[in-house]
Symmetry: C2
Subunit: 492 residues, 2 copies
């Protein structure tokens, strides 16, 4: 795999000086086209062998283009705010918005490779990490991020010489540490693991581009030209490509039985009994949040349900059990401009709670496979791939010791009509029924199908859906509280 | 001052039960009006005596209103990301956007009060902190934040009883710690300092409201009613109030001498000499950033100047000296939607660098007193108060070990014309001259005056302006680099 990058490629100064001015101008123009176009973010991932010119290449790209619109990030020790979130959080928060260029040094690929070389990661764990990376990059690509992964390579001999050279020159001596020589000893192992990793993570959407790092001019020119071509090609591509996602075949619906219609009705419960049970469960929840180990967990609650199913009421009953200082409610409406400039899930990642805290989502990332699917706000391709992306997202949450509880509050069509009519009568404005509510209601069956698909495809062992019969508000609220309590108890 | 809050106010259950339903409905409606109106953010600051019901009150407000649109924040130990920025950064990042309600527990008032009680803060330092807080709150208020500061009070006897009560009940025992009794011993001192602090920080824009904390019902009802009235009043107030800021009288300009016209011309410098000097200064800058103490500093560079004065070119020469991983360029254009929902300076606070890093602003917060003043994008009141606000902001930066370097690149009108014409000839699109550039040029004199005022009012000892004669691009770039180097050297 590295053969072509060990041939000793060189570019002579004359050729370089001839080619660079045109390339610079093209790159800079291309960068401005990218900004003007505003549809694509460019993410340059930089990896490779120490001393192969990773930071030099980033510097030259900054020199050739307008550095004010390039954001370079390294990922050394995570901050405490980063450590309290899933591992990928630090990368999500650094993603370049559409129109801009980001350069990531040692992104998500570093930890798995180094872990495997050091032996802290088992072979099967590496494979799992690889699978997740492939899916993550595919998602980014589908979301309009142009990913360019450069691997700067040196043969063992080249690396030894390079480190020695740097050491000899007093101006560059500081760059070579004990650690570099230490790592050099693992060259063969590093090469082997990297080769495997590169092979497995080179996909159609985000292939690795291996560049020989020996000669500055060769490396810079190669990288610059690849970058230019890739951005140009992307800007020239007309949108509206074929959907690459197909819905896997589902058993046809031959009868009326589905997960929603099979839900047993809510129990009937008097107001008195409700008040008593409410107090019990709120009390239990409150006590749990003061458990000494609670500070090792984060909690994410997701509420979905038909209009008027009682999401708001249920959420308020949960929140009331909590100290307001430890929760944050996120009512999900139209995304902001900054959110629209990022991949779909970005707007949810940014609200993930720290340890010992709750984020309560009133509607959520499931909007993609519900309202956005039914109302055709996104393409078929987009909502179909969302199932996998959501499962991946939720797995990361759970792995990060997040108690994730997802609720679907279910009412039937008659109950909704009853509640709409009641609401129309209340003078209280927050319950005003809008035209839109009535319009959504007309698409009841489409939403019903979308919900069934959602449950089938995203109710996983680690993040199951809790389907709550909500025809009786009181029973539903108790059920919600009880579920939250049980989940946290299980996690403590 | 606390007399009225030690009278033993009580509300009987019957009155309370009668009043609450109406108050809740009004508050909730008011909250929705606030959201719909979208012009005001409500910030509720909660302070007072331990055990006086601070968190209970926040809970009840969350219960009465829609908690999904209220964000409550406590400010315990700062995270490492917070510690590396000026003290106020953690409050800035938690500010509620327009249309929303934020509740801050123990905001910026806690540290000065506790510090003074503990004796770690001198009396003069407290006064300085107070002055800054007053100006900060005035600024928030001017920026459309409705600030409500509640101080929940208990007399010494009441507090003792309250702590004992909490201890007796097994359900609340956990709330009383050794530390609470320890603090109780300082009651008198705390009371004295608080009284002084409250008096000094009770302004027309953000007065403290002292509420007796003894009786839950009295406290909740009082707080709720005040909140309701304050939001209602704000929503009913027509915008367009009188400017409260007047430009202090300036000596009339009797001759043509001003800071810009008195600037000696740039030295003439050959390209060869420039290349050599450039290398020298870039080298020095690069070495400085690898100084062991550099990681204790942050750097903020601000570039302002006329169109075509060479800001971009100068910035690129600085950036080229730096490892791309340690700088972030922020080209300041129109604010995003999320930025428009916040006080003016918010969009700059969010980009402040961590330790060992640079943020380079290409145009900056000075837009307020330049383009926004001249083009009348903001009211006279807004840009007049900006001078003080900017000075306060910059003082916080410098105090936080930030090397702040501000550049004004100055060219004369003829030189600009020459550069505009040159640019019109280049095929290279990033230098396209727009209609707007020509329009700005017509307002040359107005901009000139605005710049002179800006320099007079914001060139402070700790954050002086560096006026750079930029008629010769080479000389200007060297001057910029040299200044940055000298400033960092002085700080190390």
């Amino acid at each position: 795999m590295f053969e072509s990058a060990e041939l000793g490629h060189r570019i002579d100064k004359k050729t370089y000086d001839q080619e660079v001015p045109k390339l610079r101008e093209d790159l800079l123009n291309c960068q401005y086209d990218l900004m003007q176009n505003g549809k694509t973010a460019v993410l340059i991932v930089v990896g490779g062998v120490d001393g192969a010119g990773k930071s030099e290449t980033a510097s030259i790209l900054n020199e050739w283009m307008d550095p004010r619109h390039i954001h370079s990030c390294a990922f050394p020790e995570p901050s405490d705010e980063e450590r309290e979130r899933p591992y990928m959080w630090r990368f999500w928060r650094a993603l370049p918005p559409r129109g801009k260029i980001g350069i990531f040094f040692g992104a998500w690929h570093t930890a798995p490779i180094v872990g495997r070389v050091m032996g802290t990661l088992k072979s099967a764990e590496l494979d799992q990490a690889i699978e997740e990376i492939v899916r993550f990059e595919k998602m980014l690509s589908e979301e309009g991020v142009l990913i360019l992964k450069f691997w700067f390579h040196l043969s063992k001999k080249q690396q030894r010489n390079r480190l020695k050279e740097l050491e000899k020159d007093p101006r560059t001596r500081w760059r070579v540490s004990e650690r570099d020589w230490e790592r050099f000893k693992s060259y063969d192992k590093f090469r082997k693991v990297s080769e495997y990793f590169i092979r497995k993570t080179s996909t159609a959407e985000a292939p690795w581009i291996i560049v020989e790092g020996l000669d500055d001019r060769y490396r810079s020119l190669t990288t610059g030209k690849i970058l230019l071509e890739a951005i140009r090609e992307r800007l020239e591509t007309k949108p509206g490509k074929e959907s690459s996602y197909k819905m896997p075949p589902m058993p046809p619906r031959l009868d009326d039985r589905d997960v929603l219609s099979s839900l047993p009705p809510a129990r009937n419960i008097t107001k008195d009994k409700y008040q008593k049970e409410l107090e019990t469960w709120q009390g239990r929840l409150n006590v749990l949040t003061r458990h000494p180990k609670f500070n090792k967990l984060s909690c994410v609650l997701v509420f979905e349900g038909q209009d008027a199913a009682g999401k708001g009421g249920a959420i308020r009953r949960v929140m009331r059990a909590l100290d307001p200082r430890i929760y944050q409610g996120i009512p999900v409406a139209a995304p902001t401009e900054e959110e629209r400039a990022q991949p779909y899930l970005w707007r949810f990642w940014r609200h993930l709670p720290r340890r010992g805290r709750f984020t309560v989502f009133d509607r959520s990332w499931y909007g993609r496979v519900l309202v956005e699917r039914v109302e055709k706000f996104c393409s078929e391709n987009d909502w179909m791939r969302a199932y996998t992306e959501i499962n991946d997202f939720e797995r990361q949450l759970v792995r990060n010791k997040t108690v994730l509880v997802k609720f679907w509050l279910q009412i039937d069509k008659d109950e909704q009509l009853k509640r709409f009519k009641e609401r129309e009568k209340t003078p209280f404005k927050r319950f005003k029924i809008t035209e839109e509510d009535w319009r959504n209601r007309e698409k009841w069956d489409q939403y019903h199908d979308a919900v069934c698909d959602m449950v089938d495809r995203t109710s996983t062992e680690i993040a199951p859906w809790n389907l709550i019969a909500a025809d009786n508000k009181y029973a539903a609220r108790i059920e919600v509280l009880k579920t939250v309590v049980k989940k946290i108890e299980a996690a403590l």
